[in-house]
């Protein structure tokens, strides 16, 4: 009896150590990554100074590294993607949960979840073959934005659907009982209830669009040194530049690419932080509304 209890305590203790160890390891690795990356990014940042972030020329032969167009390209393509994906995603999610007949619902959910796990290189190649060549869009911000939209639509749809499905039936029925049409019911009961969750779903999609490497590298056009808002112009994004240029990079060029990775890291973290704070605020608001 006593023996058994001792063993159980041992198990408890071992579990606690393992869990603590795993947590510490994550922080340690993250810290080590930040340290090594920043250290290796230093030569380029020292050589370029603030110009690294504020200028637009990226000329390897002249050792000029300005990443403004890539930061812009990342945010721009991600924004295009989100603008295209969100109406479709939420529309599909509403259709599946509110409108679709029961027999159609299951296969649709299954198909959407399946799309969410297609590897990005498949989307990229499809984009090159169909959008760039057949549809004649070439390689541009818009092509990249469309491909990214295809990639994030299933994710946003999948999450939105789950959020929307948590709307209490009582609220929906209350709206209908008051004489609301289905559309008015969605506006009055479903959307207010799911708002924070939907924002979260969109931000997850945005995050994926920003960090996407291969699909963007294949279709964005790999333009260097141009800052333009023309969606039909070839552009570039941070992950695409790193993927394209790493293999042949030497010394300072390599350091500039690592600095770009650090920049991407920071931009992603900032976007995530802003996103989280928005979600939390809107969660608080909607809780307040319900209470």
């Amino acid at each position: 009896m006593l023996d058994l209890r001792g063993r159980r305590e041992l198990g408890d203790r071992a579990f606690r150590w393992m869990a603590t160890g795993a947590a510490a390891l994550v922080l340690l690795v993250l810290g080590a990554i930040a340290l090594v990356m920043t250290d290796r990014a230093r030569p380029a940042l020292e050589a370029m100074g603030l110009d690294y972030f504020t200028t637009s020329r990226w000329s390897v032969p002249e050792a000029l590294y300005g990443v403004l167009p890539f930061v812009w390209g990342t945010l721009y393509t991600a924004t295009i993607a989100v603008c295209l994906a969100v109406p479709v995603s939420i529309g599909v999610a509403l259709f599946v949960t509110q409108i679709a007949p029961r027999w159609l619902k299951r296969p649709m959910v299954y198909a959407i979840d399946l799309l969410a796990v297609v590897p990005s290189v498949v989307f990229g190649l499809w984009g090159v073959l169909v959008l760039s060549q057949h549809a004649g869009l070439g390689r541009s911000f818009l092509t990249a934005g469309i491909i990214l939209a295809f990639m994030i639509t299933p994710i946003i749809t999948s999450l939105s659907r789950e959020v929307i499905e948590t709307t209490p039936t009582s609220e929906k029925e209350a709206a209908l009982a008051l004489g609301a049409t289905r559309w008015e019911m969605i506006g009055a009961a479903v959307l207010p209830h799911s708002k924070s969750g939907l924002v979260g779903a969109v931000l997850l999609g945005l995050g994926r669009a920003m960090g996407e490497t291969i699909a963007a590298a294949l279709v964005i056009g790999s333009a260097l040194g141009h800052l333009t808002a023309n969606p039909f112009s070839p552009g570039n994004s941070m992950p695409a530049v790193i993927a394209n240029e790493w293999g042949e990079a030497d010394d300072l060029h390599k350091s500039a690419l690592i600095a770009l990775a650090v920049t991407l890291f920071v931009v992603t973290i900032v976007v995530n932080l802003v996103a989280t704070s928005i979600v939390q605020r809107s969660v608080k608001q909607s809780r307040g509304a319900v209470a």
Partner: protein
């Protein structure tokens, strides 16, 4: 999701740096000696990857105890891997620069030229069978000073051709590449100051151009786009069935990229004592001017006996029997004199 991606990327980078620190050579020595089998790892230039593939196949058939892995990844990666001693040999389209050579950890190294190959200027213009271009016109086309096929500069190179009044679509590499480096070096060297974008593994192409990934990606753009022009290595241009231009060489002759014209360029080069040279813009009537070269590098003092012997044997194969395989894959063999110099240098590689 994106966090996981980013962290994954960072993690692999930090792993790469962690590997830098350790002495790869010493650690591998035991593994090579213990069994009868030896495995050599190489990485680097994608330009000569087709050659490495056929050479490895031919060599390991005759030497079943030796396994060789050649990972492409680019010349820059090859030089870095070799400097950090994570590979036994590396291949590169360009020698180390002075900053790069200082970071090589395994002591002195030798350059062994292995292949010569043509970079074609492939195009897709209906009704033009044999386009002719000079370096100056090429420079103007690729930096978009000339944007239509019937521009006077192109007409001057092609007095007899019927050039259409059509837009030129310039295709270039989206990834960093030794091919881009050699092509831009050629334009810098031969265009008489017309070329403004300098040379490097990536340059600032004008915005109104198209980028494709790898030689295959550029070939694909040229093939599928009317009015397109791009630089593609000969084997990929042939594989895609592209037409390619005759380029005006130093002697003023327009020469097509053929194995013979590439070999002729090899005859006209000036080779330094360490076997470093450039085959670009070579002298000689028959020389194709955009001829690139590629080397494999090995340490002068091998750390491990079994591996050292294997490296020497493989390099000897590449420089002798391997040269005979080059024609089939659209590269050209080294000129005799250079081959002899390389073999003599191979004797200087010391194996413990």
């Amino acid at each position: 999701m994106n966090k996981a991606l980013v962290i994954g990327a960072f993690f692999s980078l930090s792993l790469a740096t962690a590997c830098k620190g350790q002495e790869g050579g010493a650690e591998r020595a035991g593994a090579g000696a213990s069994g009868g089998k030896v495995t050599l790892d190489g990485s680097g230039a994608t330009f000569q990857k087709p050659f490495q593939e056929v050479a490895i196949e031919g060599f390991t058939k005759a030497n079943p105890n030796i396994r060789i892995n050649y990972a492409g990844g680019g010349s820059g990666k090859g030089r870095q891997d070799f400097a950090d001693q994570v590979v036994d040999f590396a291949c590169t389209d360009a020698p180390y620069d002075s900053a790069g050579i200082a970071k090589v950890k395994g002591g002195d190294l030798f350059y062994f030229p292995t292949v010569l190959g043509a970079i074609t200027v492939s195009y897709n213009v209906e009704g033009v069978d044999q386009l002719q271009l000079s370096a100056g016109t090429l420079a103007k086309i690729f930096q978009r000073d000339v944007s239509r096929w019937n521009d006077p500069a192109i007409v001057a190179d092609n007095p007899e051709a019927k050039l259409p009044d059509a837009e030129i679509v310039v295709a270039h590499r989206s990834d960093g590449s030794g091919t881009t480096e050699n092509f831009t070096k050629y334009l810098d060297l031969a265009s008489g100051g017309v070329w403004k974008l300098k040379s490097g593994s990536t340059v600032e192409w004008p915005p109104s151009t198209q980028a494709g990934s790898g030689n295959g990606g550029v070939a694909q753009i040229v093939k599928s786009t009317k009015g397109a022009i791009g630089y593609v290595d000969l084997s990929d241009a042939k594989a895609s069935g592209l037409s390619y231009a005759r380029i005006k060489n130093k002697a003023g002759k327009y020469v097509a990229p053929t194995a013979d014209a590439v070999s002729a360029a090899g005859e006209g080069i000036v080779v330094a004592d360490n076997l470093v040279f450039s085959a670009l813009d070579a002298a000689g009537d028959a020389a194709y001017p955009i001829t690139a070269q590629s080397w494999c590098v090995a340490y002068a003092k091998q750390a491990d006996a079994a591996k050292g012997e294997a490296v020497k044997a493989y390099f000897r194969y590449m420089l002798t029997d391997g040269q005979k395989l080059l024609g089939e894959i659209d590269y050209a063999p080294l000129p005799k004199s250079l081959q002899e110099k390389a073999l003599a240098q191979l004797e200087k590689v010391k194996v413990p």
